[in-house]
């Protein structure tokens, strides 16, 4: 019981942790053209002081990010990647002060257009 409570306490504390650059970290979520047709996605992003670099779905089929742009006046984000099909995602950062901040928006892949949502792990 004590261990469970301690684990829960640790979890809650970690939820409150902060990070430097708002996009740095691992983000998971999905995109899809309808609420029932979803594809899981994982983003890893890092700020090197000048640019955000990263990839989609780390592993053998990973897709490198070709550009990431953040408008800090409204926290909108545009991400582009060149996989088998060109990918672009436009969304908005929310809950900036929380560790598990989110990005939600519109996803374009090839000829398909849908929505996406990402939460930082």
């Amino acid at each position: 019981m004590k261990i469970r409570l301690l684990s829960l306490f640790t979890l809650v504390l970690s939820l409150s942790a902060q990070q430097g650059y708002p996009l740095t970290g691992t983000w998971t979520g999905d995109w899809g053209t309808s609420p029932t047709k979803r594809t899981p996605i994982t983003f890893v992003m890092n700020w090197d002081g000048k640019n955000v670099t990263g990839q989609i779905n780390p592993g053998p089929d990973s897709i490198p990010l070709s550009s990431v742009y953040v408008d800090f006046s409204n926290w909108s984000v545009r991400i582009e990647a060149k996989g088998k099909e060109p990918i672009s995602a436009e969304g908005r950062l929310a809950d900036i002060g929380a560790y598990h901040r989110t990005i939600k928006g519109t996803w374009h892949q090839g000829n398909a257009t849908g929505d996406f949502r990402l939460t930082r792990d």
């Binding site: 829960l8 990070q19 002060g97």
Partner: protein, 378 residues
């Protein structure tokens, strides 16, 4: 088949849920600015129902009748128990049933909570919990104590007590000719001063402004996470240096924050490579003495889970600090820091402040976590 839960499971699950809700809902995790509205004023009058003498916030609870005759119990914060005791106040300064008249700043929202600006015991008209005049510091002009080899001591000389108190400024700003007004938490009085705070990159300015506009509510220190970087010298309960010369290290013992410590290695070891250091709240510090007068400390290896100054200045894992500690007199410590984080700032920048010695006292016991159950909005 009906679902039957074992009573022990139900008890454990209930405890977990309660614990979770307690932590998530507790406004104890908010700072002063996020909790109280200093632009408003209320007056409360009524009998004391409870006294809560708990770190970091002491409370008296009073029953006040509203215009309709309904009795409402107000939680009134009266300050920090350590500071109050340092000023000569004890929890028995008031008793259950005493009538008080309180001028206060109310909590934001509709909560029955307030921060006292003045507390008067009605039957004697005596003001309670107000700070007494500062005692004259007789050691102000004494030279700094030194070790037999002439090196400055950062702690008390043998046979004496004392520690370093609060910093002379509330927040970390680039040294400029004009001070930047803030409250005690580093909240800017005028957000237009943001461009004078530090040479922030655009993203960092946006994050800093976000934290300021949200009244610092996401401050990790309010979740009892350690105050790494210069902020360890900005917490209200002071700090102490324990110089272990035979071990080649100096411990910085913190009275505030989470009552933890930092190690500065002075055994001549080189600074580690940034990509080899385990990221931590206090980083990896190596120090050396210049002319037996100034301790110079080089620190890298920070994580990003804390704010390194009051007010919410951002940083990344690239943060590199060079700190200089000088004790020109017995009672004064000069602190200077050079901030180098090319991922957050457009160039290196410097800041600093002085710290005053608190003689004849030890750092008092303080645990941030003790606060977790002490503040619950009424």
């Amino acid at each position: 088949m009906p679902l039957v839960l074992h009573p022990r499971f139900v008890a454990q699950a209930s405890a977990c849920v309660f614990f979770f809700l307690l932590i998530c809902a507790s406004p104890a995790q908010n700072g002063h600015s996020a909790t109280y509205d200093d632009t408003r004023a209320i007056t409360l009058s009524g009998p004391v129902t409870e006294i809560l003498w708990t770190n970091p916030h002491a409370f008296v609870f009073v029953n006040q009748k509203d215009p309709s005759g309904e009795v409402i119990n107000w939680a009134v914060e009266i300050g920090n128990p350590l500071d109050l005791e340092h000023d000569g106040w004890k929890s028995d300064a008031v008793h259950i049933g005493d009538q008080l008249r309180i001028d206060a700043a109310p909590a934001r929202g509709q909560h029955h909570q307030a921060f006292a600006r003045s507390v008067v015991l009605t039957r004697t008209n005596a003001k309670l919990f107000t700070e007494p005049p500062h005692k004259p510091q007789s050691m102000l002009r004494q030279p700094a104590p030194r070790w037999p080899d002439g090196q400055v001591r950062l702690g008390p000389p043998p046979g004496q007590k004392g520690y370093w108190g609060a910093a002379s400024v509330a927040a970390l700003f680039e040294q400029t000719s004009t001070p930047i007004p803030t409250n005690d938490e580093g909240l800017l009085k005028n957000l237009a001063d943001i461009d004078r705070v530090a040479p922030l990159q655009p993203w960092a300015k946006a994050v800093y402004e976000y934290r300021q506009r949200n009244l610092l509510k996401d401050d990790p220190l309010l979740r009892c996470l350690p105050p790494g970087g210069p902020r360890q010298f900005q917490t209200p309960h002071g700090f102490q240096f324990i110089e272990q010369r035979e071990l080649g290290r100096i411990l910085v013992m913190l009275g505030g924050g989470d009552r933890n410590w930092r190690v500065i290695y002075t055994d001549g070891r080189p600074q580690g490579q940034a990509d080899e250091v385990v990221r931590s709240f206090y980083g990896n510090s190596v120090g050396h003495w210049e002319n037996k007068d100034t301790l110079v400390v080089d620190t890298i290896g920070f994580n990003e889970k804390f704010w390194f100054s009051n007010g919410g200045l951002p940083h990344t894992e690239a943060l590199h600090l060079i700190e200089r500690f000088t004790r020109p007199t017995f009672n004064t410590l000069n602190y200077e820091v050079t901030v180098d984080d090319p991922n957050t700032y457009t160039r290196q920048w410097k800041s600093g402040w002085t710290v005053q010695w608190v003689p004849d006292n030890e750092i008092q016991e303080y645990f941030c976590e003790e606060n977790a159950e002490s503040i619950m909005l009424r």
